[in-house]
Symmetry: C2
Subunit: 84 residues, 2 copies
């Protein structure tokens, strides 16, 4: 496989990885075992990747990480909303 195709597949996978976690949280409304610090660090890091993408004018980096930021922001809101 060439590096570009590999990068696209890798980027899609790491971007959508948090989706099953978000769906599970929205369904079950249980968040006790999930670390909010993980979510917060991830949002900070992914946002910096978006900024990096803007500087480099790389749309694939902006879009994939921007999508992941959104998923993780909704997850972080749920972590506080469903906290017991």
């Amino acid at each position: 496989m060439d590096a570009n195709t590999l990068g696209i597949i890798a980027g899609i996978l790491t971007s959508v990885a948090m989706l099953p976690q978000l769906i599970k949280v929205l369904k079950e409304k249980n968040v006790e075992d999930i670390s909010w610090l993980m979510s917060a660090i991830l949002i900070t890091g992914l946002s910096l990747w978006v900024w990096f993408g803007i500087l480099k004018e790389e749309w694939s980096i902006i879009l994939s990480n921007g999508f992941a930021v959104l998923v993780n922001l909704v997850l972080l809101v749920c972590l506080f909303k469903f906290k017991k």
Copy 2:
């Protein structure tokens, strides 16, 4: 901030993000709310990033994603080990 520094900080943050989750799991041994599918997709995606790094001969990509693969592999093992 220049793009290279930004990329390094972003890479460190997204690589270590899962550490607080792993520490929480190792301490509390509760994993019911965590999605194993999230963990599995993440490991696949991160491994492809390592492969991408090898093709591009980019040590920063190999090391940061390699570290994240390790953390997520230990997490995935814990998810099955501590499952009730």
